[in-house]
């Protein structure tokens, strides 16, 4: 197994296990609590409206916004880590069909792995820090992933052209 393939396949398996472990923790300790919180705050908001208590309604909606913000990101982190892990493994398996030099493939594999790890991590950080840092991390790492997949696509196309001409 060459180094690029090892990075993609072992990195992918590790990331998938990490994503699943995170999902398990999330399902047991966070998801039901978050869903209950979202449902309860919405019910409180509308009950407050029915009882003509606007302060209670606004307080409940503020709680809904915060809980939903965290819930959406936690679900996204879980699904993106596992989805990206699967993509890394598939790219690793198909690496022989990428018509690029071994050194370049190794760097490309490292870039793809870094992007796949850091992009969901940046999203996860947004749940504890609403500042610009986590967003910048998520944007930069997703850009890295986009560029890596674009180069993989180019490598597949070159390989197809080479095999056609030979």
């Amino acid at each position: 197994m060459n180094s690029a393939r090892r990075i993609l396949i072992i990195g992918g398996i590790a990331l998938a296990l990490w994503g699943m472990a995170y999902g398990l923790w999330y399902a047991v300790f966070a998801e039901h609590q978050a869903l209950d919180g979202i449902g309860a705050s919405l019910t409180r908001a509308f009950t407050g409206a029915a009882e003509r208590q606007p302060e209670r309604t606004q307080a409940a909606l503020a709680q809904y916004r915060e809980t939903k913000y965290v819930y959406d990101r936690q679900v996204d982190v879980h699904s993106h880590w596992i989805g990206l892990a699967m993509l890394l493994m598939v790219l690793g398996l198909a690496l022989d069909h990428v018509a690029l030099s071994d050194g370049f493939k190794r760097n490309l594999a490292l870039a793809a792995l870094a992007g796949a790890v850091l992009f969901p991590f940046g999203v996860l950080l947004q749940t504890v820090d609403h500042g610009i840092g986590p967003r910048a991390l998520a944007v930069a790492s997703s850009g890295l992933l986009l560029a890596a997949v674009a180069i993989f696509a180019l490598g597949f196309a070159r390989s197809g052209r080479i095999s056609k001409s030979s």
């Binding site: 019910t43 509308f46 309604t57 069909h97 997703s142 992933l145 674009a150 196309a157 390989s159």
Partner: protein
């Protein structure tokens, strides 16, 4: 394909009758096919009706709040919970079947690197497939079985069997990991002769390139959603709910209805953009995986390329048309369903091609024996 070709390829690929790779490949494609057909049926017959019911419950909650009936508000939100559970279990069935199918295909590729006996690998494959069917069927039944006859207070039999399915999958995956680890740790690793990962058949380059481009398209749409829509949608979500509640508190029925309309539009906009993003990436990964298995598809080169093109066309049509559902409505929805059907047909054709390959291979093996 002639039997001689099949037998010459048999020497370079591990693909024995009822072996782990064959079980995982055919079983995995079967899971993806059933998951996709279920997804199409769900989209046509359940998704929209269910969304209408959720919307109707929210309308009811807003109007009873307008009337000042706080007990009825709580009842309306309980109905929303039931509709969401129905929808959630259908989505989970669809997603898990396809996800397990992808995993099965991945395991089929790496099967020769798992350092166990063929019998042990076959048992692991059966275990994986059993769990992969049990979990989605269990999840599907959760909404209908509920807590009937369950020995537990909050978890019904359907959930118990779904969890058992998940456990079986997890055990099978761990066993595969142990097998891989054993090979990597082996002091004198046997040279690996399986050439499936480097074999290039007709259709392979098209599926790999097209798949990577689909993934790229999905990434680009996701990035665009995050950059231009996510925060706007989150702000509008709360603003619409606030308008509904404020309208109800001030007995402004027109304001409540306007906010409800805006909220429905917002949910539709969000749903189609996320679905387009997710489907483009999933179909891209599927195309790349199928590209690796083209040497097992016993069809002529021309037909291999045609089915690869059909699969890519459907894979592009579905997310693009889903994205266009908001401005073009049912017309775009119909084209999205046609895209899904094209993918199903192409997948079925490849599955039949692989079955033909196994037939040729087994016939050539029995000829050699006699």
């Amino acid at each position: 394909m002639s039997t001689s070709i099949a037998s010459s390829q048999a020497s370079s690929f591990s693909f024995p009758p009822l072996g782990a790779r064959r079980l995982l490949l055919l079983g995995g494609l079967g899971l993806i096919l059933v998951g996709m057909i279920f997804g199409d049926i769900f989209a046509v017959f359940i998704l929209h009706q269910n969304a209408s019911s959720v919307g109707a419950s929210l309308v009811a909650a807003a109007h009873v709040a307008l009337d000042g009936d706080s007990a009825a508000v709580a009842r309306s939100f309980r109905d929303v919970g039931s509709f969401l559970e129905n929808r959630g279990t259908k989505v989970d069935t669809h997603v898990h079947m396809i996800g397990f199918g992808y995993l099965a295909l991945l395991l089929a590729v790496i099967e020769p690197w798992i350092a166990f006996s063929p019998t042990a690998k076959r048992r692991i494959a059966w275990l994986f497939l059993l769990g992969s069917w049990l979990l989605p069927i269990g999840v599907f039944l959760i909404h209908y079985v509920g807590l009937a006859g369950s020995p537990l207070k909050s978890i019904g039999w359907a959930s118990i069997f779904a969890d058992l399915g998940g456990l079986l999958v997890l055990i099978a995956l761990l066993a595969c990991l142990v097998g891989l680890w054993k090979r990597l740790r082996s002091p004198t690793p046997e040279p690996q002769t399986d050439s499936l990962m480097s074999a290039c058949a007709a259709g392979t380059p098209m599926l790999l390139t097209g798949g990577a481009l689909l993934v790229l398209l999905g990434f680009a749409s996701g990035a665009s959603y995050a950059a231009f829509d996510l925060y706007r949608h989150e702000a509008r979500d709360v603003a619409d709910l606030s308008d509904m509640a404020t309208g109800a508190a001030s007995m402004d029925a027109t304001g409540v209805d306007r906010a409800l309309g805006d909220y429905g539009q917002l949910q539709g906009d969000k749903a189609v953009k996320i679905a387009a993003h997710a489907h483009a990436i999933e179909f891209g990964i599927l195309a790349m995986l199928l590209g690796l298995f083209q040497p097992f598809v016993a069809l002529s080169n021309q037909w291999k390329r045609r089915w690869a093109a059909v699969l890519l066309l459907g894979s592009l049509m579905l997310p693009v048309c889903v994205f266009l559902e908001l401005p073009y409505g049912l017309l775009a929805g119909a084209f999205a369903d046609i895209g899904g059907l094209l993918v199903v047909f192409a997948l079925l054709a490849m599955w039949i091609g692989i079955l033909r390959y196994t037939g040729h291979l087994d016939a050539s093996i029995s000829e050699t024996r006699t």
